[in-house]
Symmetry: C2
Subunit: 246 residues, 2 copies
C-alpha cells in the first residue's frame, strides 16, 4: 500500500490504513514500538500534524498505546481466557463435581412471579415455587472476564441456596437427587449491547458489545433443572468447541 | 428511577438512562413510538434542549430511530439468523451432503508458502501442496449475515476447486475419498475488531466487533482435511448449541 497525495481520502486516513496494514502483516508486531512521529514524517514525506492525527486516532481506537517517556506501541493482543470444550454444561452448578472453588457474589431465592417467568422466557405457572439464583464472577489472572448466573428451581432443590451458604459439598447436596441432574442442554450464544449494570460490572463502556450465553439444562425426566446465564467481555474470552461425528 | 436536578450527572444523561430503563422494562416496547419531545419536557419538567440532546445521543447509539413525519421509535430488535445445533462441522463443505445451494463468491487455489502456513497457524512444510479456498456469503432474508471461507488441502483433494467450478455433486467429488472426510472437529469462537475488508463486506463501521469462528476438521486418520473461517455480524446471528451427557 502506498500513500496517494492526490487522492480525495485525507492523508491522515491513508496513513492510518497503512499503519493498520503494517500491524496486520507483522511489520509492526503486537506489543512492539512503532517508529517515532519524526521517522514516519521522513519516511513518507508527511507533515507532523498529519502523522500526529493518524496516531491520535489509532490510540483512541485502542490499536496503539502510548507509554509515557518510551514511545508509541502496538497494543498487545488481549490475553483471552480459553474455555476448553465449551458446551451448555460448562458453567452448570448441578453438573459440577465440586463448587468449593466458586466465590459466589450472591445467593438468593427469587419468588415465583409473572415477571420472573417472563424474564426467563418461561410460561407462568402458579404452582412454580421460584428459583434459587447464584451469581459469581469469572476471572482470569485477576481480571474480570465475565459473570455467571445460575437459576435452579426451588421445586426440585428446595434447600439448594441454604446448602450452598452452609458450604455443603455437591455430593451432599445432590444425594438422592440424581434423577434431577442435567442430562440434556441447549445454549444460545450471541452478542448484544451491555446494560448499564453489566457495563459497570465488566468495566466496559455503556452499550458496548458483550458476548452472552443463555443455557437451559433438562434432566433425563425432561424437567428444566437449571438455567445458566453467562456474560463475557468479548475481548477477554475465546470459546473452544469440540465435536466428533460418525 | 427519578431525575435528580441537583446531581452532578448532566440532566440529559440522566434522561438517557431513564429512557433506557423504560425500554428495558417494556414501558417503551421495541419497535414502538416513544412520547414526543414536548410530552417528555412536560412529564419530567425538562427543557427542550435537554430532551433533544438525550434523544439525539440515543439515536446515534442506535437505541432510538427517527421515522420522518411519524416520530421517534424504539429500535426494533434485529432479526437474527438462528443457527441450530452449531458445531465445528456446521459450515464444512466436506461434511455437506449437497453444496448445490451455495453461491460461491470465489474458488481459488492458494500456493503453498510460509506466509500461508503462518496465516493458518500451521507449521510450514515444503511438501504441502497448498489449499483450495472457497468463500461464500451467509444471508438471511436478503441481508448479509456473515462470510464463510473453507480451505481444503490440495494434497487430499487435488481437483476439489475444479470439480466445484464444473458443478459436480458432492457424491461425485467425495467418491473414494471417504477416508479423508471430517470425523473430529474443533472450533474457536470469539469476538475481534473487523478489518477494513471485513467491515466493507458486512456493512459495519471500521474496527467494530465481529463474531468469528476458526474451525479445524480432521479425518479419522488424523489428517487435517478442512479449515473453516466464519465471520458474522454480531447483531444478525445467534448460535444455538446442543449437547447431551451421560
Amino acid at each position: 500500500m502506498k500513500l496517494d497525495k492526490r487522492s480525495n481520502i485525507p492523508l491522515y486516513s491513508q496513513l492510518k490504513d497503512l499503519i493498520l496494514e503494517r500491524i496486520a502483516s507483522d511489520i509492526y508486531p503486537a506489543g512492539q514500538q512503532i517508529p517515532s512521529e519524526l521517522t514516519l514524517c521522513e519516511e513518507l514525506t508527511l507533515s507532523r500534524p498529519t502523522v500526529r492525527q493518524a496516531i491520535a486516532e489509532l490510540v483512541s481506537e485502542g490499536v496503539l498505546v502510548i507509554q509515557k517517556g518510551k514511545g508509541t506501541f502496538v497494543a498487545a493482543e488481549p490475553e483471552r481466557l480459553e474455555i476448553r470444550n465449551f458446551n451448555p454444561f460448562t458453567y452448570s452448578l448441578l453438573a459440577s463435581k465440586s463448587i468449593a472453588d466458586i466465590e459466589f457474589s450472591t445467593v438468593e431465592k427469587l419468588k415465583n412471579s409473572e415477571a420472573l417467568a417472563s424474564s426467563l422466557g418461561l410460561p407462568y405457572l402458579e404452582s412454580q415455587a421460584g428459583f434459587w439464583a447464584m451469581t459469581w464472577i469469572i476471572r482470569n489472572r485477576g481480571l474480570e472476564v465475565g459473570q455467571c448466573r445460575s437459576l435452579i428451581p426451588v421445586s426440585l432443590f428446595p434447600d439448594f441456596g441454604d446448602q450452598i451458604k452452609s458450604s455443603k459439598t455437591m455430593l451432599d447436596i445432590l444425594a438422592n437427587k440424581y434423577a434431577y441432574l442435567p442430562s440434556k442442554g441447549q445454549c444460545q450464544l450471541a452478542v448484544r449491547p451491555a446494560s448499564n449494570d453489566e457495563a459497570a460490572l465488566l468495566d466496559v463502556t455503556r452499550r458496548s458489545p458483550i458476548l452472552f450465553a443463555d443455557c437451559r439444562l433438562a434432566s433425563r425426566s425432561e424437567h428444566l433443572c437449571e438455567i445458566v446465564h453467562v456474560i463475557w467481555r468479548p475481548d477477554r474470552v475465546a470459546l473452544n468447541l469440540e465435536a466428533g461425528r460418525s
